[in-house]
């Protein structure tokens, strides 16, 4: 995002776990800070050195170690690119349990270290569930081999969980064992236009009940976000007339085993929605071909790109109760207006989109320039709003360098002190990704 700039002079690209171990051992000995780096696609500066740390890039560790087409368990080096893994297991009719916009460059080790969420979380759950084992080089160079392929293993503390989402502060993930689900045989998606945000919740309930096990995504896009995506050529789904009366949009995806079965369920759902006395939706479109299926997704995934093209984005990735999505977005807009910051001169748009199914809202503020004034107006305001809902200030992006100061809005003193003790125990010399998560 061009927000963080390191001053490192050295990047090492080891090819084996042994080499990683040797490098870390040396750095431990000489007390040299290390920043483990995957695809460097993070949004909170977790993979960017703050000073002159050594960058340890996992890019050359990019081999699949094994894949069992019966159990669907994939064991791979940490540097494997997510898309490459998806392509590797596709012929075996399996898919990766996670999917995100950066799939073409992000690496599985980075996904694990940041506990990446993404578009399939609603269906396949978080990485805390699908990761079966990890191989980690600890901050003193020791290799922790927990690369098991067991689905059940209740033998004491589940240590690997600590490294999922640790953002490289406890060690370097070098190998991953992950459970991949069978590829769905049929997929459909549709975009619905809703007259009011209040309908999203009731709609979600109905969709969940009627589509049941075939529901695989329920994404929310507000009108501002939709219009930005259309303006920046990320596609177009509905007629202009249909957009006019809508306050927000919902993208629903189904993945199932049999097309006829899924279509029958979808038809019943649509009949219920359209024939209701007080319809929850104005209208919508249903993709008729794989090409249309991709373009509907492109519209949702393209919001991120559109936001970057429109101006300088301040991005907040928060978990708040579903019912408060709109209040949080509107509240932020009003707050900026009251500070006189809303308009072409400062903040152009305040918009919200995200994963309704996961209670995860992406609140984006698009400004013409990054300024201290806007920054001060947004923080701690947004963090306080999140804290008032007992939400999370970082639902899926992590803490990195950007939000270390704000950690206390989501974690109480007891938790933070415990986190610090864990960090101290693993990394007494503080060489692993210094300045990140807890500072």
């Amino acid at each position: 995002m061009g927000k963080y700039k390191g001053a490192s002079s050295t990047v090492l690209k080891p090819k084996t776990t042994h080499q990683v171990s040797e490098i870390v051992k040396w750095c431990h000995h000489r007390r040299i800070g290390i920043v483990p780096q995957g695809g460097n696609t993070g949004l909170v500066g977790g993979s960017v050195p703050l000073n002159n740390e050594l960058i340890l890039s996992l890019s050359n560790m990019n081999k699949v170690r094994s894949f069992d087409p019966v159990s669907g368990i994939l064991v791979a080096d940490a540097g494997c690119i997510l898309q490459a893994l998806t392509d590797y297991i596709a012929p075996h009719n399996h898919i990766m349990p996670l999917d995100l916009g950066a799939k073409g460059s992000c690496q599985i080790g980075g996904n694990v270290s940041t506990n990446a969420g993404g578009l399939r979380l609603l269906r396949y759950g978080s990485l805390h569930g699908s990761i079966l084992g990890l191989e980690v080089v600890l901050p003193d160079g020791t290799v922790l081999d927990q690369l098991t392929t067991l689905r059940k293993d209740n033998t004491g503390y589940d240590l690997k969980q600590l490294f999922i989402g640790a953002e490289g502060t406890l060690g370097v993930v070098t190998g991953v064992s992950i459970l991949t689900p069978a590829a769905p045989q049929a997929s459909n998606n549709l975009i619905l236009a809703l007259p009011s945000f209040d309908n999203v919740l009731s709609l979600y309930q109905i969709v969940k009940r009627q589509l049941s096990e075939i529901l695989s995504a329920f994404e929310f896009i507000d009108r501002t976000a939709y219009e930005l995506a259309v303006r920046h050529n990320q596609g177009r789904a509905l007629n202009d007339d249909d957009v006019q009366g809508a306050e927000c949009f919902v993208l629903v995806e189904t993945s199932g085993g049999k097309r006829e079965h899924d279509e029958e369920k979808l038809t019943t759902l649509l009949e219920t929605l359209l024939d209701a006395d007080q319809p929850l939706i104005n209208t919508g479109v249903l993709s008729q071909s794989p090409a249309q299926f991709s373009s509907l997704w492109a519209l949702r995934e393209g919001v991120t790109e559109a936001v970057s093209k429109e101006g300088k984005p301040y991005k907040y990735d928060i978990s708040v109760p579903l019912s408060s999505f709109k209040r949080v977005v509107d509240g932020t807009r009003e707050h900026l207006r009251s500070k006189g910051l809303l308009g072409e001169h400062a903040v152009k748009h305040v918009l919200g989109y995200g994963h309704v199914g996961d209670g995860n809202l992406h609140l984006n503020v698009v400004a013409s320039e990054y300024t201290q004034e806007i920054q001060d107006a947004l923080e701690p305001y947004i963090f306080e709003v999140v804290a008032s809902h007992r939400g999370s200030i970082s639902a899926e992006h992590g803490i990195g360098a950007m939000k270390t100061h704000a950690l206390h809005y989501s974690k109480d003193a007891v938790s933070i002190s415990l986190m610090k003790r864990i960090k101290e125990m693993f990394d007494p010399r503080g060489i692993m990704n210094p300045g990140k998560v807890i500072a």
Binding site: A237, L270, L286, P290
Partner: protein
Amino acid sequence: MRPSPVRLLNILVPVKRAVDYAVKIRVNPQQTGIDTNVKHSMNPFDEIAVEEAVRLRERLKTAVKSIQAVTIGPSKSSETLRTALAMGADSAIHVELPDSSAAPEPLAVAKTLRAIIQRKQENSEPIDLVILGKQAIDDDLGLTGQMLAGLLGWPQATFASKLDLDLDKKSALVVREIDGGGEEIQCRLPLIVTTDLRYLLCNTEPRYASLPNIMKAKKKPIEKLTAADLGVDLTPQLEMLKVAEPPKRIGGGKVDSVDGLIAKLKEAGITAV
């Protein structure tokens, strides 16, 4: 001479169910054809044809009396008709083939379409305009439109990128794609138009089927006919002997030095002139 009353327009849009263009085609193990157990959708050129018919109605309003979609194919082809109906066609005809039968050839398709058009004539709902894709993306033959025009003795405007109708004069102004540009021709109705991809550049892309229209489409009538009803024979005249993938391309190599390059060239039998 008193002016003839302006008759309302009936449009026929033949559509074909084809393997979706986004699907990677694979030759089946028996090498008799391609693996058809994949996602199918409406042939993209036909989608443009449906889109154009619907746009004509949007421009000419009530002057367009009916838009009828027609397909020839197995039972699953009715999904393609539903898509056409959801996009805005009023009714549809499905000439149903047994699921096991081979895909009909262009001449048989053109004869079937002629039979349908003649039936319509007899039922006094004569077709004034047939809009269809210039080719289907599965066999890429690109013959049906021309053959149909020949059989009926109607004018044809192939590879069209723009279509304007003058109902008073019963004529059409069509821009055709030709090498290096467009050719503008005037045709009288009834007329066969085959659509080219440039429609996408001149206009916006074919519309998504909206939910209310999808629901309406389920209630629109689909008339089912068989080849026998129409007195046509759809048995293929060609026999497919073998389908195989093109040979794999063998990649080039790198040489370390100029000398290495010269050695390679000599090896390949290339010498200085």
